[in-house]
């Protein structure tokens, strides 16, 4: 009833606005000038979102990026870099950027919060795009209209970089209410913001006993992070003379990212502070008894940060672009063109991708530039070469005091396989397992450089 009433009450101005938007949406990468000569098509947004989002108009083709993480920020920046006339809108619901990369150092006071948090206003202003501080509610892909809590807007191309959600059913917690309670009591702290602040508070309040961490199965976000976190927390316990230890329950029998440098740190820095148990399948969590049930028996804890398996962000389902039949329900995209199957206007980047390469900030960042090139290339009728990354650095802090890190150089992409005559996907990692202060410094500088690029550079 209400819906009808509101629809009838649409003012003439709204109707005109709506019509203009509809045209832009239908025009194939049409400029608004071209669109104005076309036949108006009325957009009928859900009544609650009948207002047009208040963003500056550019008049040119518009590319919208949903999600301002390491992928979305770089995609918006690179789009603008490739085509300065493009109308680029980044939609992000968070009020500030909070980095997951480097957060383990901040957790134990080796880095200030300033280093991790940055302003979307700065990113947008310095790079010439628009930040729409809004939450996406729905997308009409047929008409190319995005509905947000701040109103609707149209797009010519859309990049969706929504990241991940947790899949608590993967550790035996199937009931959604129970999963929500678990996520609140023992947050994984891999979706940055409040989860990370809670974890830091837990550490500050920790007065001994078992601090439980878990490394889930699958290609989870940031493969080395659970080990780095174990090192940092153990270092914190050691430094502050806290009578406790870290138990790291590792789903993998043979962890995919457990090189000598981490093993060595566990052994010679934290022998009495870290118990690393491999091949652990978690089958349930008893929050009342503070016990994790596993295939190797029950494990009691004093406090915990429980990292369940991950899945593609739920909004993919809402948008109808989740690979529902695939493990993790990551985005249903072509792995080379990044294009959503059956929709040549929508692309997905970042950790929501289904491809097997590492889900980490640097990878999402590099890939985003590639997706931007695909889109601006398409506007110019050019095809982008398949993704191929240079060797990129990934640092893992293993000692907090003094800060020492190990490093990896990782590259990924499509390579031509002579045997099959086809392009195959590959990922290479070279380890620099000797921990050093130099790599520790480089670790921090690495982040500074990345933030510099995403938020402050004007080139």
């Amino acid at each position: 009833m209400t819906g009808k009433k509101k629809a009838a009450g649409l003012s003439r101005r709204d109707a005109i606005k709506g019509a203009a938007a509809g045209m832009a949406a239908l025009g194939a990468a049409a400029t608004s000038a071209q669109a104005a000569t076309g036949k108006p098509v009325k957009v009928r947004p859900p009544s609650a979102f009948s207002r047009q989002a208040e963003i500056p108009g550019f008049g040119g083709a518009r590319v919208v990026v949903i999600g301002g993480g390491w992928s979305g920020l770089e995609a918006a920046r690179q789009l603008k870099h490739n085509k300065p006339d493009l109308d680029v809108v980044l939609i992000e619901k968070r009020a500030i950027f909070f980095s997951c990369p480097l957060s383990n150092l901040w957790l134990v006071d080796k880095l200030s919060l300033d280093a991790l948090t940055h302003s979307y206003l700065d990113a947008a202003r310095n790079n010439g795009y628009t930040w729409l501080h809004a939450a996406v509610v729905d997308v009409d892909r047929h008409k190319r209209v995005i509905y947000t809590d701040q109103g609707w807007l149209t797009y010519d191309f859309l990049i969706v970089s929504p990241g991940i959600d947790y899949d608590y059913s993967g550790i035996g917690v199937v009931d959604p209410g129970q999963a929500a309670r678990l996520g609140s009591a023992y947050p994984a702290a891999f979706k940055p913001g409040s989860e990370h602040l809670s974890l830091k508070k837990k550490l500050a309040e920790f007065d001994g006993g078992v601090f439980l961490l878990t490394a889930p199965k699958g290609n989870y976000r940031c493969l080395p992070a659970p080990y780095e976190r174990a090192c940092m927390i153990a270092g914190y316990l050691k430094e502050n003379d806290i009578d406790g230890k870290v138990i790291l329950l590792d789903a993998h029998e043979k962890p995919p990212f457990y090189p000598d440098g981490i093993k060595k740190a566990f052994g010679d820095l934290y022998k009495n502070y870290i118990a690393h148990i491999t091949g652990v399948e978690i089958t349930g969590v008893d929050m009342g008894r503070k016990t994790v049930e596993t295939n190797q028996g029950a494990v009691e804890f004093t406090d915990a940060s429980i990292y369940p398996p991950i899945r593609g962000a739920r909004i993919l389902e809402r948008l109808g672009i989740a690979g529902l039949e695939t493990p993790g329900m990551f985005a249903d995209i072509d792995p080379v063109s990044y294009q959503v199957h059956g929709d040549e206007r929508v692309f997905v980047g970042g950790d929501a991708r289904p491809m097997p390469f590492i889900k980490a900030g640097f990878a999402a960042n590099f890939e985003a530039g590639h997706i931007a090139r695909i889109i601006t290339g398409r506007m110019d009728g050019k095809d982008a070469a398949p993704l191929h990354s240079p060797g990129m650095m990934c640092y893992v802090a293993v000692n907090a005091e003094p800060l020492q890190s190990i490093a990896f150089k990782i590259s990924f992409g499509w390579i031509y396989d002579r045997g099959s005559g086809k392009k195959t996907f590959m990922q290479k990692a070279q380890a620099f397992p000797k921990r050093s202060r130099a790599l520790g410094k480089a670790n921090i500088q690495w982040g500074r450089g990345m933030f510099q690029e995403m938020f402050y550079s004007q080139s």
Binding site: P390, G391, F432, K441, A442, Q445, Y456, S459
Partner: protein, 241 residues
Amino acid sequence: MGNETDRRGFMKICGKTALTVAVAGAAARAATAPAFALENAPRVRLVTADGKPLKASALPMHANWIFHYPYHSTPALLIRVEDPARPTEVEDKDGKSYTWPGGTGPDKSIVAFAAICAHALSTDNRETSFINYRKVRNQMTGHGRVITCCAHASVYDPAAGARVLAGPAKFPLAAVLLEHDPKTDELFATGLMGSELYGEFFKAYRRDLRKEFGRRKYKTFVKGDTIAMPISDYSEDAIEC
């Protein structure tokens, strides 16, 4: 005032002469216009820490030295490569090509580049030097005789206009133009070529630079002499990667 004008006029002439000598060979082959990165860049003499002129022949082979140019706060690498460095055509950040004039000095082996990574501005300061030249093959990149930025593993070739050999950087380090006086064996920095990033650099590090170099001085041009020294003397931690 008159004095100042004279000096400036003199500098202009000197600069021009140096340029002509430096790029004449290359210009004959490629008709690329030199991409000067800064107008009115100062002409300064390189001196050692004790204030005496740095003699080109005294610069050791594979030197990884630092001096500040063109501003008091902006570091540049001074390197002596093994073989004569030939003029090389490279592209700046906008894809415009320019001809780097090659090495200077008695064996055309002395080169200089801004120590500001073209990827994400990692740099060299008193505390830590992230961007360094090394003769030895470095662990992180597998390259030897290169300039490596240890933050993200960008690798530049000092013998070829600092063109990018590997890593995420997309264009060469800005080149500092050098001039050698064969009579006195002195070295002068006379200008810049390629993509200068000083505006971004100041923006990124302003707080630190003001503190270390003075609140106005950090953004003024060096004058007269500038001190060159091994990075290992300048920086507490010239990191290897």
